[in-house]
């Protein structure tokens, strides 16, 4: 005979219409009656979960949604303050409090557990603070010690508890790795109260919490009660850990604080958005974890929640706009390609310039020599130009199109302007400025160019005596006259 999951039994009873809102104790007792069911089919379990048919599933879903919101929200404050591992220590330190809460009246009383765990968590973080302040030990050692010391004490208490005749039936062992389907009506009530409290306090005191987190010194100057705000935040964090215990388990609660918030941190720069995203991701991973663990018989919920949160993190790590590994790789790559293309254009321009623009096209051979490339490589670069419509190639002659001409001239202009700027304004020797200009020419924006031109009084020669293409040249004729000085950049030539 296998032991049924409480949710399964709950469903059985739910159909029978006997009870609504059972706690895990009655479920375990009743499970013995339908012990002849030997297999849990995951498809039926999935349907049962998705249709929210029985109360224990509804409790589980609602509970994980609440804890995901609270943990994801408050984790944001930990992650931005580089205090993630405080969350780890805090979450392990609550265990003796949980055990003592059980001991209070020998059953799973959510309020007693809540109080015990909160006190133990605050005691643990307080001790960490005290150890780092009064000894030479650093924070990492203090955190590790408190984490493991409190956890050891909790395990001792739990092993004493489980020895008692009633000990094994109360489901205290579910607190280690979490079981969402053990969430009962009373738990839900408590979780709702705490969630509303946390959300309300964060909304009301958002500005103050933000200031204390990012700039405690300034907060103090603003006459905010910084110390109380920090303690308040720590208390809210402890609350969030404690309400998550039942579903996630003591061992992995810290991950529900850290991972969703870190994922949100990759997605945005603004704190309020980060908190909202963190809450959403926490909620999604909570429900996904509850769903996955529901599919099997003895699967703990906590690890599944943590793994779903981690997969969200991996997705954000790889694909987050602007900051993800792949978008950044793509941007770097397209920038490299652009730089090569611009260097080719510049080479064509310089070849034409050496012959004072008497020709319209250059041969592939000349280009390869100028760029110090093999014939094939030069051909590849020309193809890239042609594909962007910057040049046309007939036989082995390359001619720039108007847009290619504009681009080439502006790159040459950027280069020579920068050389001139370095020699004039920064007073570098003229033979030292080329390498720097080689890099900056691809980056200078139109704004910066205009400022440079003004500052250099529309000079028309670079330090090496070569002409700087003016705006008319860039937007118009190759051998355009330079009498009229540019006053600004318009679209028309």
């Amino acid at each position: 005979m296998i032991r049924l999951t409480p949710s399964f039994a709950g469903q059985f009873l739910g159909i029978g219409g006997l009870f609504v809102g059972l706690n895990s104790l009655t479920m375990t007792v009743c499970a013995a009656r339908i012990g002849d069911i030997t297999e849990t089919v995951w498809q039926t379990q999935a349907i049962r979960f998705l249709t929210l048919a029985d109360p224990s599933v509804r409790f589980a879903v609602f509970g994980t949604v609440l804890l995901g919101i609270v943990c994801g929200l408050l984790g944001g404050f930990l992650v931005v303050r580089r205090m993630s591992l405080v969350g780890d220590a805090l979450s392990h330190a609550v265990l003796p409090g949980v055990a003592l809460g059980f001991l209070w009246n020998m059953e799973k009383d959510p309020v007693a557990i809540f109080i015990g765990a909160t006190v133990a968590g605050l005691l643990g973080t307080g001790l960490v603070h005290l150890i780092t302040r009064t000894t030479r030990l650093k924070e990492d050692a203090a955190l590790g010690m408190i984490l493991a010391g409190f956890f050891g004490a909790g395990l001792c208490l739990m092993s004493m508890f489980q020895r008692l005749p009633t000990g094994n039936k109360t489901g205290i062992d579910k607190f280690l790795f979490g079981q969402a389907s053990a969430i009962g009506a009373e738990d839900i009530r408590l979780m709702t109260v705490v969630t509303v409290l946390v959300l309300g306090l964060i909304c009301v005191g958002y500005k103050e919490f933000l200031l204390v987190s990012f700039d405690p010194g300034f907060a103090k100057v603003c006459a905010l009660p910084t110390r109380w705000l920090q303690h308040g935040l720590m208390l809210l964090l402890t609350f969030s850990v404690v309400i998550a215990l039942q579903a996630v388990g003591v061992v992995l609660v810290s991950a529900m604080l850290i991972t969703p918030a870190a994922t949100a941190y990759l997605l945005t720069d603004r704190m309020h958005r980060m908190l909202i995203y963190g809450a959403l991701i926490g909620m999604l991973s909570g429900v996904t974890g509850a769903f996955l663990s529901f599919l099997g018989t003895h699967l703990p919920t906590g690890p599944f929640m943590v793994l779903s949160a981690s997969s969200f993190f991996v997705v954000a790590f790889l694909f987050a706009p602007n900051r993800g590994v792949i978008p950044r790789w793509w941007m770097a790559r397209s920038q490299r390609v652009r730089i090569v293309r611009e260097n080719t254009l510049k080479a064509v321009y310089q070849i034409l310039e050496n012959e004072e623009f008497r020709r319209e096209s250059v041969s592939l051979r000349e280009l390869a020599e100028r760029r110090r490339l093999t014939f094939d490589e030069a051909l590849r670069e020309v193809r890239s130009l042609v594909s962007m419509d910057f040049a046309t190639a007939v036989d082995d002659l390359v001619a720039l199109t108007p847009s290619g001409w504009q681009r080439a001239a502006s790159i040459v202009r950027n280069h020579r302007l920068w050389e001139l700027y370095l020699t004039h304004a920064v007073q570098m020797a003229p033979d030292h400025v080329h390498d720097d200009a080689e890099k900056i020419e691809h980056i200078l924006g139109e704004d910066a160019v205009r400022q440079l031109e003004r500052r250099l009084e529309f000079a028309d020669r670079d330090p090496h005596g070569r002409p700087i293409p003016a705006v008319q040249v860039i937007h118009g004729r190759p051998n355009g006259n330079r009498e009229k000085r540019a006053t600004g950049y318009g679209k028309s030539s």
Binding site: R82, H92, G144, G149, L155, C156, M158, A255, T259, P300
Partner: protein, 317 residues
């Protein structure tokens, strides 16, 4: 049956060393070996401010062990060590990758990496519960009481003792050997990494070797005390010793004393309260830290209070 068992001095203090010695002797020895081996490497972790890497690695060896078990189907020493070392290296690499390629800071990177790996390990255990000779309880609590019951290992006709104890003894011996051989290098790179690399020591190599050393110690201790209490064994002896002395050799010595005391007193506590022996050892270890914190020669709360009193009230000028 009450929550706190009836107190019996004979049963708690005398029986373990006389009639029940064959059972408790191995347990005490094993706890001492775990505490000593972990404490030695833990001293270096504390010096290098890497205590939380110990936290991370002691969690993340779990999937390594489970995968090694699933692949080889045995709980042999070599596959377990190989799995643990691979998992430890994977953890450091993951932390480094997350930390370097995104804006997520190192603390969050540590938290994400080890919790994911640990979660993976727990799920593997739950899914392959029929085939894996580990359960979730053992992961947290260890199975110290079962160690004396396993058939003793024999080598060349000599009966040595339970295999876990022999393995842990070898690891302790190996740790002592490492410290004796590389004392200077470890000392220098822990206290002054810049000078160490200027003198030609490869800091990256030392870091990775320390991680491998740590993972081997952790995996052999894992069986006795479980994933989370390993952290206590890693940090408590070193932290207690750090409050007693400034010199590294002396600290190493004190951490061995701490390991021995918490093994013996922990045993008595666990018999007295009839609770988890590894948990009891950690509670005693934390208590010893508390004693050192209050009465320590320099940093101790009492001596700080005393010196402040000697100096008299602080004047404003």
């Amino acid at each position: 049956m009450s929550f706190i068992p009836h107190f019996s001095a004979h049963q708690i203090f005398i029986a373990p060393w006389t009639t029940d010695f064959s059972l408790y002797g191995w347990m005490v020895l094993m706890t001492f070996l775990v505490g000593a081996a972990c404490g030695l490497v833990g001293n270096y972790l504390i010096l290098r401010r890497m205590a939380l890497m110990g936290d991370a690695i002691s969690h993340s060896v779990l999937p390594g062990i489970v995968v090694a078990f699933l692949v080889t189907g045995s709980r042999g020493t070599v596959p377990m060590f190989a799995g643990a070392v691979a998992a430890a290296v994977l953890t450091t690499v993951l932390i480094e990758v997350i930390h370097r390629h995104s804006r997520v800071k190192q603390d969050a990177a540590i938290g994400i990496a080890f919790s994911s790996l640990f979660a993976l390990g727990v799920i593997l255990i739950a899914v392959f519960a029929d085939t894996v000779d580990l359960d979730q309880d053992c992961v947290l609590n260890g199975e110290l009481p079962l160690i004396p019951l396993s058939p003793p290992m024999t080598l060349a006709g000599m009966t040595l003792g339970p295999p876990a104890v022999v393995r842990m003894g070898c690891v302790l011996f190996f740790s002592c050997g490492l410290i004796v051989l590389f004392y200077k290098e470890l000392l220098l790179s822990s206290f002054d990494p810049a000078l160490a690399s200027a003198m030609g020591l490869r800091s990256g190599w030392i870091h990775q070797s320390l991680m491998i050393w740590l993972s081997i110690t952790v995996v052999s201790a894992f069986e006795a005390v479980g994933a989370i209490l390993v952290i206590a064994m890693l940090i408590l002896p070193g932290a207690t010793a750090a409050l007693i002395s400034d010199r590294l050799v002396v600290r190493l010595g004190w951490s061995l004393v701490h390991a021995a005391l918490s093994a013996v007193l922990g045993l008595h506590l666990s018999i007295g309260l009839d609770c988890s022996p590894s948990g009891a050892a950690v509670v005693v270890g934390s208590f010893l830290f508390g004693v050192a914190w209050i009465f320590g020669p320099q940093d101790g709360l009492v001596s700080r209070w005393w010196s402040r009193k000697e100096r008299g009230p602080e004047t404003l000028v």
